[in-house]
């Protein structure tokens, strides 16, 4: 049913991405590709692997942005982008076939590729560019929140995590139930002021982004702005003279 689940889903599984420590290494994107290319949506087709236009299906893409407040405070921020498993997922409601759906159990938004007609409308409806059409297979694909990994009884516990999460070298990605205010991810989001992307689109995304922390430029710390010189003699001669018989305490 491409109507969204009527009641809130039992769980709201999602990702929390910490823009303060993401170094833009693309590990999450590649590991995602690696897991999923033989996962539920296998394969994530590559179109021209060794040619002029290398391109293919990815569920996670890493952008880099620069910000500028016009006052000389610029930052560079790395920004991973994948499906946010929206509560009011427009990609689901527009789908004419029921191929796009949101799971009632955990809120994961998936595509049933066996019935997808490849009309692409869902990708038009998603503001976040989270849907990628497999041009070779003619069906829509997207982040599965690694549904075939997170519950997988054939994997050890430590691997039962979205691929992008467990692989992130910076530890910038967390995963859990964002519908439960007592969950650890919810606490992380609350403590760090996690934000929704494009709330104005009305999609009610589940994933949260933790904004870069205010940079410690030194103005705010305990340290003085400069050190007191013990002696102002030219080239420190006075200091050296004092050290000649200075006994260490």
């Amino acid at each position: 049913m491409t109507c969204l689940p009527k009641n809130p889903t039992e769980k709201k599984l999602g990702l929390v991405i910490d823009l303060d420590i993401c170094v833009g290494c693309h590990a999450c994107a590649v590991n995602c590709k690696e897991w999923n290319t033989a996962g539920k949506s296998a394969p994530l087709t590559d179109y021209d692997p060794y040619g002029k236009k290398p391109d293919g299906v990815w569920f996670n893409r890493i952008h880099t942005y620069e910000t500028d407040d016009g006052q000389g405070n610029g930052t560079t921020v790395h920004f991973p982008r994948s499906c946010l498993h929206c509560e009011d997922a427009p990609c689901v409601t527009v789908c004419p076939t029921g191929a796009s759906y949101k799971r009632t159990e955990d809120g994961i938004v998936l595509v049933n590729e066996d019935i997808c007609i490849g009309c692409k409308l869902c990708s038009w409806a998603c503001p976040y560019g989270a849907r990628e059409y497999d041009e070779a297979e003619g069906v829509m694909k997207k982040c599965t929140l690694c549904v075939d990994k997170i519950y997988n009884e054939n994997l050890p516990e430590t691997s039962r995590v979205p691929a992008c999460v467990s692989t992130c070298p910076a530890g910038a990605r967390s995963f859990g139930d964002l519908g439960d205010p007592d969950s650890e991810v919810s606490k992380l989001v609350a403590a760090r002021g996690g934000v929704e992307l494009m709330p104005e689109q009305g999609t009610k995304p589940v994933n949260r982004y933790l904004p870069p922390r205010p940079r410690k430029k030194g103005e705010e710390g305990k340290a003085p702005r400069m050190l007191n010189h013990s002696d102002d003699s030219a080239d420190g001669a006075g200091l050296i003279a004092r050290w000649v018989d200075k006994i260490l305490s």
């Binding site: 620069e66 054939n154 467990s166 606490k187 410690k216 260490l248």
Partner: protein
């Protein structure tokens, strides 16, 4: 599935598909970080590679390169069979031959040289992770002309550290990320310690109680997440550090107690201008340096346990005029020349920023001491109740080391750490076993033997401490083909691979017979000057013979270098072979303890290739090299490298692997050969690690428990404390020689150079090439950086990674772009007196206004790497290497030095200066072929872009309960109530 068009079809999602038939652990080699991996195999193919959560290096994480190992394995660029050149060098014409023929041929070529003059074999191994094998092989072969790629990589970093603290960054040491309060990083893009740095920075920032400063002309990657980005002008870090030292000295924010105990700061230096021992330490009859003890009012041995040393004051001692070395240091750096104001213009860092950072360092070091309640005993037997840390940690890499003034700058960074007393303290920078070693370690470079078929007396590479240790002839001329350890580059500890082709082609200092290379793309991205280097490969003498007569090369891929060599020994991939990441070499230790690891073949080669190390041992046996054959002449390691890893003993009880030694596998470090050693490694995830007791984890340089342990493990020869050499007497010995003292003196032409650059305390000078070309004409610094998701040239053959980056752009600051009327995607010439390369520009803010930069090693030669001829790597991407140079302009005497550091011979990649010129409209197109295309050569592997379709698994039906995963869990736990400590989805309290 019904045919009712109004029916909603509900999907049954398999929550528990079977992932693999088998999971094998091994060690990643998509870069040199050497993370632990778990490889899931299905139907004999690779289903998934993930990080090994138990591994000390990566703790379960895996970077983009590691995660794309599948596409590395299935790349069409793989070589498939031994090749013998049939056309001219560079033509790429080869015939495939059988291994027998290849090995016979190689044996013949090598055997000939060995019988004539073993030194005429130049054996250079690039990205070699088996240098303890290759170095040993060279020793036994009898050639001193051996090195790996360190000379063009980061020997300034290694040398600067080893000659100062007996350790350095990367494998030698690491910041105490979890405790530091102030972290400064100089010139790092991704670095070798790729994943640990990311784990560490994430931890540091998530804790929220530390500040992270990145000093780098470019604000990407790590610099992007820094609290403060200091966009320094390239090549000027030395001045910036001197200014920090200046401030700290003048404010007396110096840990004198630590200096007294651990460093040579109080040691008395003879200060008698003109004396043959001027600038050397005053020593007693035991050879111990002396300090002036203020308590007793007289000189005592610097090795004594208790004294109250003077840090200043010229005194007469034993009839000599002496002064504590600290005074010389203080005089130099307190001088007005190095005040924050004085260096501001050159570094581009405003004086108030430098001053503030100095104040912050002081505040973190002295007001935020980290105290661990852990008693420990120092080298002199004194007990300490607590471990007191000065939580300021530094890390630096090629942004410092790839300049021709890098050695001194590296030393300056280490000296700064010693001055504030943070070395190997909690929150500081820490050694990784087997470091610290004496500064410098005791091994000396072997001197060549002039005899046929005779092994060297020791390893070709070592640590010279005086002119006596140089590898020069009686005229003072170089004896090594790369001129390492000569008067031109006396401390070229890692050799100078970047000069080998140049020197061999010019027969300067002499010609060689065979060049044998392994794993280095010398005809392309690891050459400093591609057009000329290709000429060196192909240069012929008047008889029409190649000047470098024979070139044997082992590569695993159809790289740009393969076509320029004569005999190709195709290697396996990292997933197909055994390997040892050994304590004898560059282990995987952390500051917590030692560790080493192995690779095991996880997949069978589908081509006629052999592991290089196995081939090398085979060649050794065929040549009858000592140690590689039994008494009856039969091969000693018929089982190849795996056999060697287990059974080779470098000295009794010490072999390539330290874990599970002894016949029953109960010994660590030293012990008899254990025939089941590899099985034990595999059972443990292909690594061995040994955590030091807490009481031995810090102050390792002077920690009795640690030092005794290190001796027991065979890491150091004796358990004496390791002194920090702020003032470096070894350097002074070279300078004295240049000043005319002693028997061994530099040839006249090098005298001033030695005198200038062998200063016992760090100096700063404008980098050579920059000084040569740095005027108004070439005002812009051009840098390259490693993309985190690509490894040099290997990345581009990877079907996934090249989807991220296939064409590098030149990043230009908006203001600089405005000067040249450049907009995004405009084409520009990057030019200097040697030539020009074309690039498309990308305008950015996060870069020093005088700097342009691009990603390293994306540009490819047409035909190489299994890529189509019109791939962006060959039409749009570019290398700066086309306009760098391996050689500086000749001086007045006609002599040209290498474009390298004058102390260590480190290649000065980042001294490049250029000018930009917007392309005329007719030029503003994709670049045509810069060099003739190489013929294609691809393995039969066909990747139709549908990898994985065949590897999905049956659902087994069940659903395991969910687990939350918190990135940086332990750090977040300390900062956010309600988050439980642990790692990822493993919570401590559950354990």
């Amino acid at each position: 599935m019904g045919l009712n068009p109004f029916e909603t079809v509900k999907e049954e999602v398999g929550l528990s598909p079977k992932v693999s038939d088998e999971v094998k652990t091994s060690t990643c080699y998509m870069c040199a970080c050497r993370c632990g991996i778990k490889v899931h195999l299905k139907n004999g193919q690779i289903r998934y590679i993930e990080g090994n959560p138990d591994h000390p290096v990566n703790k379960g994480v895996l970077c983009a390169k590691g995660s794309s190992g599948i596409m590395h394995q299935y790349a069409p660029a793989k070589l498939t069979k031994p090749l013998l050149r049939t056309g001219e060098r560079g033509s790429g014409e080869f015939k495939e031959i059988e291994w027998d023929e290849a090995l016979e041929l190689a044996t013949e070529w090598l055997g000939d040289v060995r019988q004539r003059d073993p030194g005429k074999l130049a054996f250079f191994t690039g990205r070699d992770q088996s240098q303890s094998l290759t170095g040993w092989w060279a020793t036994k072969f009898g050639t001193h002309n051996f090195a790996a790629h360190g000379g063009f990589c980061s020997v300034n970093m290694a040398g600067g550290g080893l000659y100062t603290l007996g350790g350095a960054f990367w494998e030698f040491g690491e910041p105490d990320f979890e405790r530091t309060k102030y972290m400064m990083m100089f010139g790092v893009a991704d670095d070798h310690d790729s994943n640990p740095i990311k784990l560490g920075l994430g931890n540091l920032k998530s804790r929220g109680d530390a500040k992270f400063v990145s000093v780098n002309p470019i604000r990407t990657g790590y610099s992007a997440i820094a609290d403060e980005w200091v966009g320094i002008r390239p090549g000027t870090d030395g001045l910036f550090i001197f200014a920090l030292i200046h401030e700290l000295l003048r404010a007396e924010k110096i840990d004198f107690a630590s200096l007294a105990r651990y460093s040579n700061a109080p040691w008395l230096v003879i200060r008698e201008e003109g004396a043959a021992d001027n600038g050397l330490f005053l020593r007693n009859e035991d050879g111990h340096p002396l300090v002036w003890d203020l308590a007793s009012g007289g000189p005592v041995s610097g090795m004594a346990a208790e004294f109250s040393p003077a840090f200043a004051g010229e005194r007469e001692v034993l009839g000599r005029t002496v002064v504590p070395s600290f005074q010389i240091l203080a005089e130099r750096y307190m001088s007005a020349e190095f005040s924050p104001e004085a260096v501001a213009e050159t570094t581009g860092i405003p004086a108030e920023v430098t001053r503030r950072i100095a104040a912050e360092i002081a505040e973190a070091a002295f007001e935020q001491e980290v105290v661990i309640d852990q008693p420990w005993t120092d080298a002199w037997g004194r007990k300490h109740e607590k471990m007191i840390g000065r939580p300021v940690a530094f890390h630096a890499m090629r942004g410092i080391s790839a300049h021709s003034n890098g050695f001194h700058t590296c030393r300056a960074i280490h000296i700064l750490q010693a001055l504030i007393g943070s070395v190997d303290t909690p929150g500081g920078w820490r050694y990784k076993p087997p470091f610290p070693k004496p500064a410098p370690p005791g091994i000396k470079p072997a001197f060549p033997k002039a005899e046929a078929a005779t092994p060297l007396d020791g390893p070709p590479l070592g640590f010279p401490r005086s002119p006596d240790d140089l590898v020069v002839d009686q005229h003072g001329d170089p004896l090594r083909i790369d001129k390492a350890y000569s008067w031109e580059y006396p401390l070229a500890l890692h050799g100078m691979m970047h000069m080998v082709l140049h020197n061999a082609a010019k027969q300067d200092p002499y010609g060689i017979d065979v060049l044998f290379m392994f794993m280095a793309n010398m005809a392309w991205n690891s050459s400093m000057n591609i057009p000329e280097t290709l000429g060196y490969f192909t240069k012929k003498d008047e008889n029409g013979e190649y000047v470098i007569p024979k070139i044997i090369y082992s590569d695993a891929f159809w790289s740009e270098t393969v076509p320029y060599c004569d005999l190709i020994l195709p290697d396996t991939t990292y997933l197909e072979r055994h390997d040892a990441i050994s304590m004898l070499d560059r282990p995987i230790s952390t500051a917590h303890g030692a560790g080493d690891s192995i690779r095991q073949p996880v997949i069978e080669p589908d081509r006629d290739v052999r592991p290089f190390q196995t081939v090398l041992l085979d060649l050794g046996a065929r040549l009858g090299l000592p140690g590689m054959v039994n008494e009856d002449g039969s091969p000693k390691y018929p089982g190849g490298y795996a056999d060697y890893i287990v059974n080779h003993e470098r000295s009794p009880g010490i072999g390539p692997l330290a874990g599970w030694r002894g016949t029953d596998g109960e010994k660590e470090g030293v012990g008899e050969v254990n025939p089941n050693q590899l099985e034990r490694y595999i059972e443990n995830g292909c690594f061995w690690s040994q955590d030091l007791p807490h009481s031995a984890q810090y102050f390792k340089h002077s920690n009795r428990e640690y030092l005794d342990h290190a001796v027991k493990m065979g890491w150091i020869g004796h358990a004496d404390p390791i002194t920090f050499h702020l003032y470096n007497e070894d350097l002074q010995r070279f300078r004295l020689a240049a000043q005319g003292h002693g028997e061994k003196q530099p040839p006249e032409q090098h005298r001033t150079r030695i005198e200038t650059y062998f200063d016992p305390l760090p100096i700063w000078y404008q980098p050579f090439l920059e000084a040569e070309e740095g005027g108004d004409e070439f005002p812009v610094h051009a840098l390259s950086q490693r993309p985190m998701h690509m490894y040099h040239s290997w990345g581009s053959q990877n079907a996934w990674l090249r989807q991220i980056t296939s064409a590098n752009k030149l990043h230009v600051h908006h203001k600089l772009a405005a000067k040249h009327d450049l907009k995004d995607d405009d084409y520009v010439w990057i030019q200097n007196s040697r030539g020009r390369v074309k690039a498309q520009v990308k305008l950015v803010d996060g870069v020093n206004e005088n700097v342009v930069w691009t990603w390293n090693a994306i540009g490819k030669r047409k035909g190489a790497w299994g890529l189509d001829k019109d791939s962006p790597e060959t039409t749009k991407a570019f290398l700066l290497n086309h306009i760098i140079t391996e050689q500086l302009a000749p001086g007045a005497d006609g002599h040209a030095y290498s474009n390298s550091d004058p102390v260590t011979g480190q290649a000065a990649w980042y001294d490049l200066r250029v000018q930009l010129q917007k392309c005329a409209p007719e030029d503003a197109t994709e670049e045509g072929a810069r060099f003739a295309p190489l013929p294609d050569r691809t393995s039969k592997v066909v990747n139709k872009g549908r990898y994985g379709a065949q590897l999905t698994g049956e659902d087994t039906g069940g659903a395991a309960p969910l687990r939350e995963f918190i990135g940086q869990r332990s750090a977040n736990a300390s900062a956010i109530p309600g988050i439980r400590p642990g790692r990822g989805n493993q919570v401590e309290e559950d354990a």
